[in-house]
Amino acid sequence: MTQWINILIQGALLGGLYALLATGLSLSFGIMRMINIAHGDLAILAAYLALAIAEPFGVNPFLTLLVVVPVMAVVGYVFQRTILNRTLGSDILPPLLVTFGVSIIIQNLLLEIFSADTRSLKIGTLSTDSINLIGGIAVGTFPLMVMMTAIGVLGALQCLFSFTKLGRAFRAASDDSETAQLMGINNKHIYGLAMAIAMAVTAIAGIYLAISTNINPAEGSARLIYAFEAVIIGGLGSIWGTLAGGLILGIAQSIGLQFDPGWGILAGHFAFLAVLMLKPNGLFPITRDR
């Protein structure tokens, strides 16, 4: 029994990382109606930026967040304004193709600069520390931090969307971009800001990913699948749905892993397929047809 409780806790906490990874994807879909194939690679890019700061200068990986998060936000804004905004329209294909190209470019740049060796960000014993609760139940300290971060980020986004002028502008531009312009909303700028926020969250996810596991330049595409699954399970564009999606994926993987080391990932995919079959729009869909 205790073993299963531990498995569920581990899975749920793993879900926090998936939710963080999926948030940026969910934002860009929710606001721009755009699927960013390069999303996973941008997370890995952020992780390598952190490595480039942490390793030579001996900086604590958590402190790299202070640099990498704003840098990635600026990268996101510029990326959206200069490239992605030009691909948006009634056809969903151009953004897919362009971000697919960007994905390949990022992977090869990272390969060129950092080689194909796997790397990770070191945080000492914190990565293995755990908090022991009664009855032999243990909660990993770092996974708990990741989950708290995910809840904090999603809560902050919820407040931004619900209670601020910018949040209303995001929702209006997502509902009807033309009418939003009539309100004085510059869609191109709003989309740039949305991508900046998405990339800031993705930078946190990338750095946490590199702390919790080994990464290599080609890792992004594999991670994109988990992010996609979390977003789709939760319902496209739904903020808290993304967390639910991450939790379901994490728990399914954690349970699968108990039966066979190879079954963890497979179980996650099965959970994704099961949700798709039962609720094709995800658990908390908010997206409407325009």
């Binding site: 929702r171 033309e178 009418t179 312009q181 009539l182 004085g184 510059n186």
Partner: protein, 233 residues
Amino acid sequence: MTILEVHNLTSFYGDFQALYGIDFQLGEGETVAVIGSNGAGKSTFLRTLAGLLPAAAADNIMLSGVAIGKTPAHRIIGMGLALVPEGRKLFPSLSVEENLMIGAYAGRSGPWNLMRIYELFPVLKQRRNNPATALSGGQQQMVAIGRALMSNPKVLLCDELSLGLAPVVIRDIYEALPGIKAEGISVIVVEQDIGQAMKVADRLYCFQEGRVSLEGKPSDLSRDQISLAYFGV
């Protein structure tokens, strides 16, 4: 004093030319109706004024002496020209109050605020926290008008306010017009309902196939003149 002056305006809807050299004036505090059959170019005219479609040259449209023919829509509202779009186009994920508040996004100062809008349309205050699309058609139209007023415009463009509404609801909506005019706002009303247009307008333009086919005061125009200008027969 003329607040909006349109000179030789042409506009395209994709490859299709919808307006052919429109000349049009709107005086300060004046209400002008634009009538015409389907496809006459009325909506295209308003969309071009609001910046959603570009004019051929910037000085085709002058707002208080400033050329705005090439200015994008998101800047025009801040210059004091607001459009109530055809079909209302409320934001479904925003509540009634949020829809009104986003009207003030451009931050122009003036007499209109939430309180004034709720005085003009008291029913909206009761339903302020409802999703905007949960309201009846007439109430939605009130939100759309209120949203445009929240931008404190000098010129208010109304596209087919009566579309799809029951006559009694249309009457309620148009009863708000004097209160709006009292603030010195100049209004352009596009209508297919000629009777309604004649009632509210100081002057009237009739469009036919993208051209002005008739212009004048409603009292000076005969039924036959209007019917000829409207239908072309």
